[in-house]
């Protein structure tokens, strides 16, 4: 089956690159991900409630799935979301732990608790874009182009799926490492979706 990468987004601590082109970001003293959000002029107040992992994945998906590319209004059952990372939701797990470790100051935060699962980022992207196909999230000890390739290709075993938003979305201890790909089957235009290309796009 021929699958191509229609577009990709690389998001790290100092750069946002979409299809090989760096996106200019107005930097401030504030958090980098908030700077990206504001530079992109997105209007989605829920963004500020997200954890950093979801913010990073959400921003990359906004750059991949722009309004002119994807219809954000109508449900789509032919798109799947398959993501992977190394740190799961460790940042949030630690933050939640802080809210419950002191018996004399025991105030578990519901808003932090809801992000103590890494696959919440899939949900944030799906809700924003009305993507109704199956979503999944995998944990790997390290970035693996081969694993990403295999799990993304697996998504196409459901014949109703023609497109997959896939890739690596990792965020821990202020280190952002995201490579998000939008791939399609039987599409003539784009970069071939294979292990070698995934590997090189992540460098």
């Amino acid at each position: 089956m021929d699958v191509t990468i229609c577009s990709y987004c690389r998001l790290t601590n100092d750069k946002v690159v979409v299809n090989g082109m760096e996106i200019p970001i107005q930097k401030t003293e504030g958090p980098w991900l908030n700077d990206i959000y504001r530079s992109l002029k997105i209007s989605y107040p829920k963004f500020f409630k997200m954890d950093n992992l979801s913010k990073a994945g959400f921003l990359a998906s906004e750059l991949l799935l722009k309004d002119e590319i994807i219809d954000k209004e109508n449900p789509k059952k032919d798109i799947s979301i398959v993501l992977m990372n190394r740190s799961a939701s460790l940042d949030d797990d630690r933050m939640y732990q802080e809210t419950i470790e002191d018996k004399n100051n025991y105030y578990p935060s519901p808003a932090v608790f809801v992000y103590t699962l890494p696959n919440i980022v899939n949900g944030e992207i799906a809700i924003r874009n009305k993507i109704m196909g199956e979503t999944s999230f995998y944990i790997s000890e390290a970035f693996s182009a081969e694993k990403i390739y295999n799990v993304a290709m697996d998504a196409f075993s459901d014949e109703s799926i023609s497109q997959v938003v896939c890739g690596w979305t990792d965020y821990e201890l202020n280190k952002c490492d995201v490579l998000l790909l939008w791939i399609r089957k039987e599409n003539q235009n784009g970069i071939p979706f294979n292990i070698n290309n995934i590997y090189h796009l992540h460098i």
Partner: protein, 85 residues
């Protein structure tokens, strides 16, 4: 009461991560849920935690929040009557 309302607005903005909203943007008489700030059920739970953590008010029944969180002013009035810290 007005000082408490302002304090409450600042706390709500902080705990609910209402990044782009300033205290003066919040109408203390407007409903907190359903319109205006667009708060959701997780926000309601955070407000319950805020009441206990900052004012020592423990809501035993989550449905009590329905009346207490009608607006910032209603919330402030409830806090003034029931606060233990």
């Amino acid at each position: 009461m007005e000082a408490l309302i302002l304090e409450l607005k600042k706390e709500i903005i902080e705990v609910l991560n209402l990044e782009e909203i300033k205290p003066e943007d919040i109408d203390e008489n407007a409903p907190l849920f359903g319109e205006g700030l667009g708060l959701d059920s997780i926000d309601a739970l955070e407000l319950i935690v805020l009441m206990e953590k900052n004012y020592g008010i423990k809501l035993n029944n989550a449905s009590e929040g329905r009346d207490i969180f009608k607006s910032v002013r209603v919330m402030a009035e409830y806090i003034e009557k029931n606060r233990t810290k």
